[in-house]
Each structure stands twice: as structure tokens, then as C-alpha cells.
């Protein structure tokens, strides 16, 4: 009896948590297909339309350019951050350099700085360099945000790889770089994949810097959402359609690499 009660309680709690987490997402997906007049109703019965998607991609919203900006900024950030971070992580993991621990802490400590504190210096810097409202500025800022985090993550995965195979490769005739390319990277692939996804998600969702540093040309999707708060009020159906555009790529990516994702997570957790 007690066991059944505990079981029911557990299920009820899980259902409640799931509801709290999933409701806003479900609401967003439903609203994206609603007419403006249905947007505020919670009814599940309505006449679906794709007009919202058509609207957000046309003038004056132009979501297309924001999608392009987001894709370019996130992809280029991952493409630069992950290889650099992998090399740095390897060095931190394998070379016994003096001051290594302090340096590692220093890199990690950049994550403790609140973004609002550094957003103004970044703004001034990019204004000086004439890079405001450019994708390059966003890429540079995102690199500064994600690289330390990715170094820390990948180091965990490389630490877990025994050095025997590396040493064997060195004796077999490989140079250090060749060892990293042929042995370490393939063995750390699940971890690197996981780190890349995290890196992509962080950049894809980054809001504050994109808001301050972009105005028209380099606006990304999260910032674009704000533009649906107009003098006519909040256009929820359009905001939801844009929200779907932001979340769907992440969902699809997560589905595709779920296997790597969980494997990477546990591999990092054990060591």
C-alpha cells in the first residue's frame, strides 16, 4: 500500500514537473499556428494556419536574415572554438607546465564574470574598431564566452583517455600533432561532439551581447524576438512562430546526436 502510494506520488511529481517544463513549449508550438484572434485562448481546437511563418519571413520582420546571422555566427564560433579548445585542453591535460593549474583556473574564472559587466567595454571596443552591428563582432564575443567553457569540458574527456595508446603511437613514429589527430581526437570524439553541441546552443541562444552589439544587419534570432513587442502590443503568434524557428534546429540536432550526447555526458562524468 505504502509502496503504491509512494509510486503514485512519484509519478504525480514527475507529471507536474513535466507539465511545468513542457507547457510553455507546447503553448509556443500551438500559438505559432494560430490566428491572431486565437492567440490568447488556451483552446486546443482552432483553425491552424502557416500565415505567421509567412509573415515573419516577410517585411518588415525579415526573419530570414536573422536566421542566416544566427547560423553563421553559431557555426563559425563552433568551427573556431572547438579546434582551439581541443588543442588547449590537450595541453592542459598532458603537459606538466609550471603554473598550469593557476592558468587553468584563470581561464575558467572568466566564466564567473557577469556578462553585463563586460558588455560596455566590448561595445566601446567594437565601436572603436568600427565593427558594431557586424557578425564578426558577435563571433569574437561568442568565442570569448564559449572557448573557456569548451576547454574545460574537453579537458575532462581527454583526461579520461589513457596515455598508453598515445605513447604507443609516438613510438610507432608519430609526431605529437599526428598523435593528437590520429589517436586522441578520434578517441575523444564523443566528448568533442558533446562540447560542440553545447557550444552551438550557447551561441545560438546568446542574447545580451547580440542585443547591445547589433542594430540592423547582424541581428540574431533571440534578439529578433524582441522586435515582436510593438506599439500594437506583443504579437504572440508571430513571436511563437519565430520561437519555433529558434528551437527546431536545436531539437533536430539533439535528436540526431543523442547517442553521442549521452555517451559524452557519462564519459565526462566518470573521470
Amino acid at each position: 500500500m505504502r509502496k503504491t502510494l509512494a509510486y503514485l506520488g512519484e509519478r504525480a511529481l514527475l507529471a507536474l514537473i513535466s507539465f511545468v517544463v513542457l507547457f510553455p513549449i507546447a503553448w509556443m508550438f500551438l500559438t505559432a499556428f494560430k490566428q491572431p484572434r486565437d492567440a490568447y485562448s488556451l483552446s486546443l481546437i482552432f483553425e491552424p494556419t502557416v500565415q505567421n511563418f509567412v509573415t515573419v519571413f516577410s517585411e518588415p520582420w525579415n526573419l530570414g536574415s536573422m536566421v542566416l546571422n544566427s547560423v553563421i555566427v553559431a557555426t563559425v564560433t563552433v568551427a573556431i572554438a572547438v579546434p582551439c579548445a581541443a588543442l588547449a585542453a590537450y595541453s592542459f591535460s598532458r603537459f606538466r607546465v609550471k603554473g598550469r593549474k593557476f592558468l587553468f583556473f584563470l581561464i575558467l574564472s572568466t566564466q564567473f564574470i557577469p556578462a553585463v559587466v563586460i558588455v560596455l567595454p566590448f561595445f566601446l571596443m567594437f565601436r572603436q574598431l568600427d565593427l558594431l552591428d557586424t557578425r564578426i563582432a558577435l563571433i569574437i564575443v561568442n568565442l570569448a564566452i564559449v572557448t573557456p567553457f569548451v576547454i574545460w569540458m574537453i579537458k575532462g574527456f581527454i583526461d579520461a583517455i589513457p596515455t598508453d595508446s598515445e605513447e604507443a603511437a609516438m613510438i610507432d613514429g608519430a609526431s605529437r600533432l599526428r598523435v593528437i589527430k590520429d589517436i586522441v581526437m578520434p578517441m575523444a570524439a564523443p566528448g568533442i561532439m558533446t562540447s560542440s553541441i553545447f557550444c552551438f546552443i550557447l551561441t545560438w541562444n546568446e542574447f545580451l551581447f547580440a542585443l547591445i552589439l547589433s542594430r540592423r544587419d547582424a541581428v540574431t534570432l533571440p534578439v529578433g524576438l524582441v522586435s515582436f513587442r510593438t506599439e500594437r502590443g506583443d504579437l504572440w503568434e508571430l513571436m511563437s512562430a519565430a520561437g519555433v524557428m529558434i528551437t527546431v534546429p536545436i531539437f533536430i540536432m539533439a535528436l540526431f546526436i543523442q547517442k553521442h550526447f549521452t555517451r559524452g555526458m557519462t564519459a565526462g562524468a566518470v573521470k
Binding site: 603511437a169 609516438m170 613510438i171
Partner: protein, 350 residues
């Protein structure tokens, strides 16, 4: 001519002296075993030869050339690791092929060479598998194949059999011996298993606290151990070591009275191997005590007798039977080697 010379090499980790200054020459074609308990510096010594560990001072010469500053890949060595060090994401074929690929050998030549090597270690049926799909013995053979595929000047083997079960270890031991005979490559082999050392080595270097305490042929090390440590380390069951004193040419301890070739000395440890003792009915025999244990090993029976704090083991006939706690007497066989060591220094007296 692949001779390896270690000249006054020393290894320190911070203040800790792992390998004190010493020299060693490994002759061309020799199978040299570094033998010692764990933590005695044997693996460190091998890793220094491989170039995986920097040396604090001294020189390492391979084929007459100083290689201190050469990376492992330029030392023309191959190494077999304790945990095999295979590449888990590659197939057996790719594992064996990797050293050849790095040396820029053509695809056709590589294929032929891999096939030939795989046949040598009976892996030809498993070439397309990954290491995770292999048993311990098969993995060991992959590691071995990867080492021999490019015929290096020197083989380094770091406890290559220690992860295998007892039966497989014996089989692989014979394979290693055969391989060395066939290839004739200078080999340095690290182990803590004295049986492996005795069966494989041309010469054995027994190490303790980073220092080589005796370097000789297995036969000589067995017959004339340099000190108490070597005497106790080599042989299974190990040599009987009895604490006592020598007076007027007779060694005396509880229940032991044995004429020896030494005038007089206090604090002496007498050593005699179990196989050099006979079980006798003679109450006046050199060693007397009560029967403590009988262990049948198959081909013989190990007889342990006790007298006071010391126990003495003898290898008797497989049929030998007696009551536990009954009186028992042992006498050295004709021509038995009796070793005498200084108790304080451990050095060999005679």
C-alpha cells in the same frame, strides 16, 4: 648492431630519486630482463630508453649514437605496453599497419607486410575486428604484431604478460622466446615475475630501489645470488633463509647445525634452496623440527618444518606422507650449494 648503453643515467622527480646513477650495457641481440618488485624503477628505466621519460643526467646510446634529445619516433624502437596501448578506434589491420603508414610505406607493401606479420602471430583471421572484440591474449598478440611489423632495432616490453591468465601467460612466454630466437632483435623486458625472467632472459638485471643489484645470466643469479634480496626474490618456492651464527666452522640456529666453509661470524643468514634438501629418517641430520605443512604440487611435495621462529621448506617426492607435527629431519643433498650472507648488510659472505 643494436647495442644499448646507459651511461651514468639518473632520474629524479623533484626531490625524489627514482633511479640513482648507474650504467648498463645491453648487447646486440640480447634478451635482457629488468626484474624487481613494483616501484623499483625498472619501468622508469625502460621508459627512459624509449624516450617517454626525460633523463635527469647521463647518456643513452643506441647503436653508438647518443639519443638523449631524440623523440621516441627517431630511436628505431618498438614497445609493447602492459595495457597493450592499442588504438581502440582502429581495426586490428589498421593497428598493425599504423607504424608502416607513418613511415610512408606504399599501400600494397603495407598489406603484404601486415598479412605476413599477422600470420606469424596467428591473427590473420581477426584482421577486420576491433580491439574491443578480442580476448586478452588476442589483444596482446596485436600489440606484439604492431611491434614486430617494422623490424625495429630494439624491442621494449613492459610487463606484457601481466594481464593474461596463468595458462595463457605460459603459452605467450614460449611464443616470445621463439620470436626472439627467430628475429634476433635486442630486447629489453620488464617484469616482476621471476619465472618469466628466468625462462626468457639471456641476462637478468635484478633491481631494487632503482639500483641494479645483480646483473648476470639466469643460471648464475639462481646459483650465486649476490645478496639476501636476490636470494629471496629468485626461485619458487624461495630459498630458505635461516638466521643464526657461525662458530668454529659450524652454522647454528634453532634445530639447525650445519658445517660451513667459514671460520666464525655472528649475525649470519644461511641460505639453501628447497630442492637441495633431502628428507631423512636420521635424527642426527643437519636440520630438525616438527612437520608444519605438506603441499602437493603434482610432480613433488613441498614439506615445511618448523623449529622455533624459523621454518624450512624442502621439495620431497610426490609420494611423501607423514603426520603433521611429527618430528622431521632434513639434510643437504650431496654437492648442495650453501649460501652465507651477512645479516646486517645482506651481502654474500660465501
Amino acid at each position: 648492431m643494436a647495442e644499448v648503453r646507459l651511461v651514468d643515467i639518473e632520474k629524479k622527480y623533484g626531490n625524489f630519486l627514482a633511479v640513482p646513477k648507474q650504467s648498463l650495457t645491453i648487447h646486440d641481440g640480447e634478451f635482457l630482463v629488468l626484474l624487481g618488485p613494483s616501484g623499483c624503477g625498472k619501468t622508469t628505466t625502460m621508459r627512459m630508453i624509449a624516450g617517454l621519460e626525460d633523463i635527469t643526467s647521463g647518456d643513452i646510446m643506441i647503436k653508438g649514437e647518443r639519443v638523449n634529445d631524440k623523440p621516441p619516433k627517431d630511436r628505431d624502437i618498438a614497445m609493447v605496453f602492459q595495457n597493450y596501448g592499442l588504438y581502440p578506434h582502429m581495426t586490428v589491420r589498421q593497428n598493425i599497419e599504423y607504424p608502416l603508414k607513418l613511415r610512408g610505406m606504399s599501400k600494397v607493401d603495407r598489406k603484404a607486410r601486415v598479412q605476413e606479420t599477422a600470420e606469424k602471430v596467428e591473427l590473420d583471421a581477426l584482421l577486420e575486428r576491433r580491439p574491443s572484440e578480442l580476448s586478452g591474449g588476442q589483444r596482446q598478440r596485436v600489440a606484439l604484431a604492431r611491434a614486430i611489423v617494422r623490424t625495429p632495432s630494439i624491442f621494449l616490453m613492459d610487463e606484457p604478460l601481466s594481464n593474461l591468465d596463468a595458462k595463457l601467460r605460459v603459452t605467450m612466454r614460449a611464443e616470445l622466446k621463439h620470436l626472439h630466437h627467430e628475429l634476433g632483435v635486442t630486447t629489453v623486458y620488464v617484469t616482476h615475475d621471476q619465472m618469466e625472467a628466468m625462462t626468457l632472459a639471456t641476462r637478468v638485471a635484478v633491481m631494487r630501489d632503482g639500483k641494479i643489484v645483480q646483473l648476470d645470466t639466469p643460471k648464475k643469479i639462481y646459483a650465486e645470488p649476490a645478496d639476501l634480496f636476490v636470494a629471496g626474490f629468485i626461485g619458487s618456492p624461495s630459498m630458505n633463509l635461516i638466521d643464526g651464527a657461525v662458530q668454529s666452522g659450524v652454522f647454528r640456529a634453532d634445530g639447525v647445525e650445519l658445517p660451513v666453509d667459514l671460520a666464525g661470524c655472528k649475525g649470519v643468514v644461511l641460505g639453501i634452496r628447497p630442492e637441495e634438501l633431502d628428507i631423512t629418517e636420521d635424527a642426527g641430520a643437519a636440520i630438525s623440527g616438527k612437520l608444519y605443512a605438506l603441499e602437493l604440487t603434482g610432480e613433488s611435495t613441498l614439506v615445511t618444518l618448523r623449529n622455533g621462529p624459523s621454518s624450512v621448506c624442502a621439495r620431497g617426492h610426490a609420494d611423501f606422507e607423514a603426520e603433521i607435527n611429527s618430528p622431521c629431519h632434513l639434510a643437504p643433498k650431496d654437492g648442495a650449494r650453501i649460501h652465507l650472507f651477512d645479516r646486517a648488510t645482506g651481502e654474500r659472505l660465501r
